[in-house]
């Protein structure tokens, strides 16, 4: 998209809107006042404009765990998407990186464990990535362009301050505007309300957006998070491939040459036990990632895959070890099945190669409840509070919303993040969510209501995790067990193709009825029987908005930033360089307090977000 052209259009278009899209005074009356007001606003909202009115599009930098997207606003695509990979960790002048960073830390920009995070390393990496973006792709002097940075919900302040500081000190942009990423995803879908499901690397975060305000307070932030994310998916891929890999490498052979072991996973050097060594052989993580990105898919329930595809043998090369694995195509849907839809991922078992314990991102920020991270002694089959399957996670969040937010969001579900790319995942999530909605409705049991009151009264973020663990309405537990008759199948993991919906026991071949409503009815009746034990009390309200879950395509967070930035909309969390550096030097965060409190700015601290506009979102 050319800037000059955009400029032309921006000056021409608003003055001559078409009747179909215009609902105001006639253009003839409007035009003059518009042009003057456009000038006025541009002066007000963009301080560094040159007098002759060349409105410079700001830059949008989406800084993610795995990727950096950088480009000019008003363009359809970022100019570059850079991966935080091994290359980024290299020393200048070296050809290769010796440090086996994939094994020890992962190459992500930041680690899931905030407390153990080396902030300095994040700054170094960010500086390197952004510099490459400026020099190789953006080709502009960094001092001249304002920045727009999308900020995910409940993003840790410490990390945000550090990111902003790095950008200001190394690239000296005139200002940095912070915009909440769920809102940008909503904007890029052409919506004002949406349930934004961000399937990221460390975690999946579900954020309701109502009238372009993210709803994060009062527990939604905690309820809307699950570790069912892409990292979890990769673990499941490792689990799928490892037995085949070991077979391909020769089961009983000693752990092969260093070329295979070096880049794979830790091999205990002191162990002389051959079998123990074998049990520590895993396929190279990069190879696994590549296979996952290229071949992974997810089985939709209602639309059958033709048998020719189901049984097609698919070869997965593992170049680091010079071998390849051949699996039926249907098996390649298993990791997504387990990672996103299995009732629990706790039994990752011996195939789990990632040594560091998972802790939900920023958990310590969510109200000082470190218990969040400690695996609870939840009864078997019950998910941990950060281990909800995707459909359940969505349901839980919608459950927490007020009626009107829920009504608006249910039919406007927006999937973003790396996991949303997996073909079939969105359809499948919607199908299962629909089953949950049809079965459980929006009923709240008395106990749950009690818990809810507690939350409201206590005003403390710490209680959320407790409620999350204990406050499951009994009815839903019943429903849950209905959907999770999988215990016996867990022994032969490759057979739980569709464990969630056991009553129908869908086999890959079964020609599933095309209309999802059929299954729902089948399920519905069986679960109704179950609900008979409990008084199934449906509030009238929930019946009214008893709706159909629908997903809406979004062009993504970056594009949302591009669209808003292209209209010179910066939000009210605009940070100026001098002020920021001064504040940080004085020991502050440098992030304006209204950015923390205001619904438009990223709500960084859960405790501060309970007031004002958030009330509309939570009942």
């Amino acid at each position: 998209m050319s800037t000059t052209d955009t400029r032309d259009r921006s000056s021409l278009n608003p003055s001559t809107p078409t009747p179909t899209t215009y609902h105001g005074a006639p253009p003839s009356i409007r035009a003059p006042s518009l042009s003057s007001s456009a000038n006025a606003t541009s002066l007000r909202y963009t301080s560094g404009l040159s007098s002759h009115g060349i409105a410079e599009d700001p830059l949008v930098l989406e800084i993610g765990t795995k990727f950096l997207r950088a480009g000019l606003a008003n363009q359809e695509h970022p100019r570059c998407v850079l991966a935080w990979d091994k290359r980024m960790f290299k020393r200048c002048g070296d050809r290769a990186l010796l440090d086996d960073i994939v094994k020890r830390r992962g190459t992500e920009l930041w680690t899931a464990d905030m407390r153990g995070l080396d902030i300095g390393l994040v700054e170094d990496l960010l500086e390197r990535g952004v510099r490459e973006a400026y020099h190789k792709y953006l080709l502009i002097d960094s001092k001249t362009k304002k920045l727009i940075i999308p900020v995910p919900p409940l993003f840790p302040t410490k990390l945000l301050t550090s990111i902003i500081a790095t950008l200001f000190s190394h690239f000296q942009p005139p200002s940095i505007a912070l915009l909440p990423s769920p809102v940008l995803a909503t904007v890029a879908a052409g919506l004002r309300c949406a349930l934004v499901v961000d399937i990221g690397w460390y975690e999946t975060v579900v954020t309701p957006v109502y009238d372009l305000r993210p709803i994060e307070g009062r527990g939604i932030g905690v309820y809307g998070r699950s570790k069912r994310a892409v990292q979890c998916l990769r673990k499941q891929w490792v689990r799928l491939l490892t037995p085949h890999y070991r077979r391909a490498m020769g089961v009983n052979t000693a752990p092969s040459s260093s070329s295979t072991s070096r880049d794979t996973l830790p091999i205990d050097p002191d162990s002389d036990d051959e079998s123990e060594k074998v049990s520590k052989i895993f396929p190279n993580l990069n190879d696994v990632s590549e296979a996952m990105e290229r071949l992974g898919w997810c089985r939709p329930l209602s639309t059958p895959l033709p048998a020719e595809h189901t049984y097609r043998l698919t070869k997965i090369p593992l170049p680091s070890s010079g071998t390849s694995i051949t699996l039926p195509f249907s098996d390649l849907a298993l990791p997504a099945e387990r990672a996103f839809f299995a009732p629990t991922t706790e039994d990752v078992g011996p195939g789990d190669p990632v040594q560091r314990p998972f802790s939900p991102l920023f958990s310590h920020d969510s109200g000082g409840a470190p218990t969040n991270t400690i695996p609870t002694s939840a009864p078997e089959g019950y998910p941990d509070d950060d281990d909800f399957p995707l459909p359940r996670l969505l349901y839980n969040v919608l459950m927490r919303c007020t009626v009107e937010v829920r009504a608006a969001c249910l039919k406007r579900i927006v999937f973003i993040g790396g996991g949303s790319r997996i073909p079939g995942l969105q359809t499948r999530t919607l199908e299962e969510l629909q089953v949950l909605v049809d079965t459980l409705k929006w009923d709240v049991s008395p106990e749950a209501r009690l818990e809810k009151t507690k939350t409201v009264v206590s005003e403390s973020g710490a209680i959320h995790s407790e409620i999350e663990r204990e406050g499951f309405p009994q009815t839903r537990d019943e429903g849950e067990s209905q959907f999770s008759a999988h215990e016996s199948e867990e022994e032969q993991p490759y057979d739980w193709h569709i464990h969630g919906i056991s009553p129908l026991s869908i086999s890959p071949r079964s020609t599933f009825p095309r209309s999802a409503s059929l299954n729902h009815r089948g399920l519905h009746s069986s679960s109704d029987k179950n609900n008979g034990t409990q008084p199934a009390r449906e509030s009238k309200k929930s019946k009214e908005i008893y709706g159909e879950a629908k997903a809406v395509k979004s062009l993504g967070v970056w594009v949302g930033g591009s669209l808003l930035g292209g209209q010179r909309i910066q939000g009210n969390a605009v940070i100026e360089r001098e002020k920021f550096l001064k504040e940080v030097a004085a020991g502050g965060t440098g992030i304006p307090s209204h950015a923390l409190q205001n619904d438009i700015g990223p709500s960084l601290n859960q405790k501060k977000t309970g007031d004002g506009a958030h009330k509309i979102g939570i009942r």
Partner: protein, 597 residues
Amino acid sequence: MSFPTIHISCPCSDTPSIARHGSSGSHLAKDHSDLNADDPAEVDDDGQSNFNPYSRRANFSLYPLNRLLFCEDCNQIRCPRCILDEIVSYFCPNCLFEVPNTTVKSEGNRCTRNCYSCPVCLAVLSVTALGDEGTAPYILLCNHCLWSSSDIGIELDKPTSITAQLAEKLKPSASSTGVSTPTGGKIYTVPDTLITPAISGLATSSSSYYPSRTLPPLPEGAELSPGEFFTRLQEFYKLLKSEASDNEDRHPNSSRLMDMLSTTGTSHLRPYNQRMSEKPKPGWAEYGHNQSVNPDDDLNAITAISSSGFSGTTSLRQRLTQPHCPSLLSELVPLAALLRTKRSKRCRTCRHILYKPESKVGSIRCRIRLVAMNYIPTLNITRFDPSAFNYHNLIPLATHQFLLTVTNPLYDPISVHLATPRHTPGKYPSNITIYCPEFEVGANTDVWDEALASASGNPSSGGHRAKPRDKKSAVPGQIWDRGRNWTSVIIEIVPPALPEGVDDKDKIVKVPVFVRSEFDTEVDRDVGEIGKGVKERREYAFWSSIDVGRIGKKDQDGPQRPQSLGGASVGGLGERERRSEGRDRRESERMKRSSVR
């Protein structure tokens, strides 16, 4: 990995971009511990913490000398991180055509001529005629991986103006929902803006041919390509904003509304609940043609992947280079070559220009070029005894001697002070000893002066090699050798025996050396008579990291080979050393010359 390698740590890494959070006070103070965040800081006997080349962050602060500039005003090394770049000119690396600034602004960061790169391997594509005698049709062919534009069904009519032709061929079809590929997948209709932003000019101007100057109305439920959807969203928000700002003029108090197109509390927009039940109208708060997720699309995508298999899908790298992130190889499109820039570089602290190239593309000359190797002493390290060991297989627990040569680029003699920790700070420390850590290095006087001087003294062999032998002695506390503007000392390293299965990273001996050089210089050479003779003491100090080699396995032939390199040389020169010495000398000379160059 080649050994030995010397990197220099730019002091800018001592000043973290921000203060440690919560701690006030000056963060400009040297704080090496910041670099050691990975490992606990190694503290010297005198309580001073050392630079740790093993730290992961060290990878970001270490640079080869030739990548460093020098700011005379700050009297400091400047690395790529502590300079600010300013673009002098843009050019296409393929056709070497200089692109004016205005063109870059309007048409983007890619070559608008005929330069395209392979979407599979990123090599340059060549225009190849398919017809006999080099006639039409033409294709873009990769000579490296043999990908060609005919793989995606594109043949060109003429060998020129490829950008325009490609734009035409890749234009969304009339239905704008994508074209079926032989594999059954759907080609993402690539918006023209992707191929090269230049075309976007055509595209958007063509859209402005519509009398209303907005896009044509859409039928209900129309499916749009991502490109079209974007353009329409853009229009939509433009309109919304103009409405909002219009509204703002009437209600000056509601300026908050502009913050996020938020319309709550404004009179002419109804509350959301009311709108909810109604069908959203275009032009109101929500865009009317949202693209809902279609299960059939998912199914098509899955079968396309199944049909194409691993080899028919794009790798992560290929996908990231393509703006529309395609999943299938058949959806890849050729990419116009990225432009490159010539940049001048300023000191980030004082804004002085340190490097300024000629703006002309062909020229490699510089107007200003303050490179660090003209200011700070250059280090070189060579094996003291070349036959004794292999850089890639240092024998554990044996004493290895290296010759560390310090060369002075200045016209004033310098006094050098080297410091190292006693052990390398890695997980498996090696012992380090510098025989003579303090010494003088002569001025970088005119080479001819010296040549003449030495020629008169010893006509048979020119240069410093003819200097009397007795200068050399491998005795601790004494330098090994010295020349016109260089001095070499012996550094002794004893690597540890490593356990099995150690990371490659930990096998490498990285020696941190702190170099301080002091000299007296005339305050200002330009002042003339008045300033003459006034001298000032100056000091340069920096950490450097020397990768000496990789620790090998313990000697299999029984116990440690005595390998008494240390013993022999401490007592005096062994026979072997004497023989190899000349060669060593030559080698270090060669390295010195090459590094100066």
